[in-house]
Symmetry: D2
Subunit: 208 residues, 4 copies
């Protein structure tokens, strides 16, 4: 039985590496796969790039209004597995169609994406995945304090943000993201000096 899996994590948890490794495993066994990505994410355009230095061209950029079920029926029926990178940017109706693709077309769908935004709330796509996915798998990453990181904090010019648009790509000047554990996230919001210092050192390692 094929199903829909959501590999979720904070920033820098190795989501793209996980996707690329799994796609590699299947292709090595002569099994066809396709890699999709919502168009909203302009980072790297048609390429998905892992911080480890490996990359791959996506097979299709999915528009906000595009129907995955139709797309797959027309182009990817012979695939054993479909991958969606940056899946938090999917529209809810697209997540529903990926669930249909798994259960009706019997094609395995692996979605990789962020669980929550910089204010700890889900993206529309990730909420629908958390509701519908047959399996939820966490990809772990680490807080500068050494604990498991859960949350993503946004910084603009060294300052943690507590409001703003949900989507803001980190290639904008001065914008950075950092994954934090629940405790450091809370401490940073309350401007605890020790936590802020740890964060600065982690975000801007070359500065004094």
């Amino acid at each position: 039985m094929a199903n829909l899996v959501f590999y979720y994590g904070a920033m820098n948890s190795g989501k793209t590496t996980g996707l690329l490794q799994d796609a590699y495993n299947l292709e090595e066994r002569n099994l066809k796969v396709a890699v999709l990505k919502p168009e909203i994410d302009t980072k790297g355009e048609r390429k998905i790039v892992s911080r480890l230095g490996i990359s791959r061209e996506v097979d299709h950029l999915l528009k906000k209004t595009e129907h995955p079920l139709q797309l797959v029926k027309e182009n990817y029926l012979e695939c054993k597995r479909l991958y969606v990178d940056e899946a938090q940017f999917l529209e809810p109706f697209q997540v529903e169609e990926f669930s249909d693709i798994a259960h009706r077309l019997q094609i395995q769908v692996y979605c990789y994406g962020l669980r929550t935004d910089f204010l700890t709330h889900g993206f529309p796509g990730s909420i629908r995945l958390l509701e519908l996915a047959d399996r939820l798998e966490e990809l772990e990453t680490i807080c500068p304090c050494g604990e498991k990181a859960r949350f993503v904090a946004r910084f603009i010019n060294h300052k943690m943000q507590t409001e703003g648009n949900q989507v803001l790509i980190d290639q904008k000047e001065g914008v950075s993201y950092l994954s934090l554990c629940a405790k450091c996230y809370q401490n940073a919001k309350e401007e605890d000096p020790k936590t802020l210092k740890l964060i600065q050192k982690s975000l801007y390692p070359t500065q004094k």
Copy 2:
């Protein structure tokens, strides 16, 4: 490190049995626990009852406007673990406070609840838990077809409902719930006769 865990499942996945077993394990080792429940759930009132026939009095019924952090500081600081049954009925701010209780007071919090309602959408409490919990653990149950069940369908007088209030306790006359796999849920919505027959047999076994 204490953390916040969400044990989620469909109807009849053994959530209450899981809670009762875990609480038993701790008390057997002389460790204090407390069991809370949102007041909205009137089934059994102050009692939580497992279908296997075991039950337990809750320690506290949590009002919609009540602050868990305050409550725990005043009453349950010596507890090793807190349990919340029917956690889908928590208010989002209460989930946030349970996360604080775990990370600031270092008391483990185990929330047991439904992932989604009868229309496959999260309850406000379960969405906040899916966003914030340090660990998401699925409790499995089974569809009448034999597959793993993910979704909950609501029936009134033998008819599957596709609209209605999110909350409707199954002690109302004629109201029943049944956990279904993604495929049977979809088939039932489309009134596939074979699926409907399987469901009727499962819901109303004594009828011809």
Copy 3:
């Protein structure tokens, strides 16, 4: 695809409750199941009993030389799921046949048992399950110190044992078992007074 699952845990992790709840879930949906148990375990004879007070008659006591594949072909082909309680006492060849039952007869097999003995070594049955099971699922329990328990310690007349037969049922006079975390297990072996005191209090709560 049916498969072989090993639910492993230390003593008092709720293995039997888990088995009974899952069997209940299936029977409630009119799906047939069977519960087996290796004959070596004489505790309760044909009954499996959970510490929560629920129990069930086993369908078959499996002899040391009996072939599960043959047994299932002759008696349980219409079952959707088979359960084995105290699965650590299975013979390795029997575990191999349960794997065949899952993959060749397409009947789901859930084995519940101890991971390791009182000296931290696997039983022949649990080692074969750890090697062959399609899914390994831990059932957690707790150490008197409050940490997750991993190991099982044997006590005879209040004294922790560091040698002895692998199998010794705890209904023998003076024999008790206690699940401990890695640290307390090691401390107890080294006769750390604080740990021994905690253990005594947990094992013999009514004594001064």
Copy 4:
């Protein structure tokens, strides 16, 4: 609380990529790590290499008689996390010491290795890890038939082996390994022609 984790999988499940990604995540946060490898594995010598093309020098090759506890106390006390690649080749006493390192020195230990050999039996190191690890995490890979692969089959000059030494590095001429699901592994042993053909195509793709 630090603990000992065993990431197990069949051949080509991405174990080394997982290790390299996790080590990268920590170093990016300025946290120290060390990568160890049992000396018996001569593939790549001091380098661990992922099939995706990324690699890293190991910090230490562990001899069969070397004591990890001593080694870590003398060299790696400031590390936040230790990694062991090819952990199936550890000696059982070394696994026990890695458990001590986690619980006594509070350094997280992540072991990556094969669960079983080409005859479905554990290596001494992997059996001890399956017995002692605080967490067992599976890394999945795929069978040429499209199912999840569990077992590793050894081939010499196109022929599946049913006996031989447990360790035989696949750089020996004519030796190959292939990960198979339980069903294909069994079928291949029984020389089912369809399965053998699928395997040949997967192992030697360029041949007619």
